[in-house]
């Protein structure tokens, strides 16, 4: 638990504090993707660099959301790293980014009453969503990544990412409406 008052720290002190607090969690997360200790270290370092560019965003988060943000950053950095490693790792990368590319007739927003209860419902079905869809939506709406960064992560063009986002949102809304996993 971070005990210091982060809002009184300057950027360097802030990021140092975050790093000290979460470095074990970051390393633990990287180890889920690569086994080589040197590569884990490189991933943690690259993740720290990304976080250093997002200090303003991080300052606005409460502690649970901050922990999620840090882990999501390491996860994305790991997947990018695996992708850069080449064909041998491609299959592992694809496992994490698996998205069932089906055309779905999703309910329109007009058909949904978005109340607080509906939002709770959406949160509850979140674990059932494809990992690729989760990573895509998390990257866009939580990490604030742009289309270019997401395109790099998924190995496609920025235009394809926009289409993937539309489909991902529709898929999740459909799950929320129907309350079942789409096979």
């Amino acid at each position: 638990m971070i005990t210091k008052k982060l809002d009184v720290l300057n950027d360097q002190e802030f990021i140092t504090c975050v790093c000290e607090e979460y470095i074990r969690l970051m390393y633990y997360t990287a180890q889920k993707y690569v086994s080589n200790p040197q590569q884990c270290e490189d991933i943690v370092q690259d993740s720290l660099l990304r976080l250093m560019g997002k200090v303003e965003t991080l300052r606005a988060l409460n502690e649970p959301a901050l922990a999620s943000y840090v882990v999501a950053t390491v996860r994305n950095t790991s997947i990018n790293f695996l992708r850069r490693q080449g064909i041998e790792e491609q299959k592992r990368t694809e496992t994490y980014l698996r998205m069932q590319e089906q055309e779905l007739e999703a309910p329109s927003m007009d058909e949904l009453i978005i109340s607080r209860e509906e939002r709770e419902r959406l949160r509850s079905i979140w674990p059932q969503v494809d990992s690729g869809v989760r990573i895509l939506l998390e990257g866009k709406y939580f990490l604030g990544q742009d289309d270019k960064q997401l395109a790099q992560l998924f190995g496609c063009s920025p235009a394809s990412i926009r289409m993937k986002l539309t489909r991902a949102r529709r898929k999740v809304l459909k799950l929320m409406k129907e309350g079942e996993v789409v096979e």
């Binding site: 638990m1 979140w126 998390e138 709406y141 939580f142």
Partner: protein
Amino acid sequence: MSNLRHEKLVDAYEKALFALVLEEVAEDEGEQLLKLNAALQADPDAEVPEQLKQRCSKIVQAKATKEKLHRAARYSRKAFRSVTVAVFICVTLFTTVFAVSSDFRRHTLNAVIDVFDEYSVITIQKDYVDKEMLEQTGEHVIANHYNIGLTWMPDGYELTDGWSNGIGDFAEYMSAEENGFNLFIVPMNENSMMQVDTEDCEQVEVTVQEHSATLLRKSTGRLTVIWIDEDTQVFYQVLGNGLPEEDLLKIADGLVWTGTIR
């Protein structure tokens, strides 16, 4: 209300909805992560390598230093990069196998290197040897980043930048005195052409790793050694600023590349 406007409003609403939900999901998952983090903090087996902590600490310090240097408008890594014009890769329709030395003498080209990756600082521990590289290659690699391994480097240098972008691999090291060297390695094919800055350079034939190589001595003091491994068709460049010639050649001789040949 027109259809297009309605669609835009619905789109905006969907995006806001997902942003809200993702924020709430993040908090839910974050509560679990905080528990995991607490468990990791209490677990001695979850301790991270000390060198990683030092690397991270140096990165943060170096960024703060870099910002100060930039504000003071002193000679910085940025200036070093602008001087380090090196390579522009182009794939052409012409079948050209890049040949070192005599081709260089015929061409005088200026080129620019694009550096894509973030700035980073790492301290290499003295006597550190990458055990995995030792097993794989038999080489005592003391620094290994972005597929570029070094079996020797002068004291006082730290990795400050690097990238692997699927076309080539790049790593840059600098000292506290702001001397530095960088390494650039590219697997080529018969349609590749490499352009290297040879303007105002004295060219000397040398041998690196039993390959015929060219050492370029620029009037500014910059040194570049380039060669092609003709068996693997991989292009190598080591460029130095402020380094003795023998150090640069020693770095080049001890280079180990573990990238992918196309």
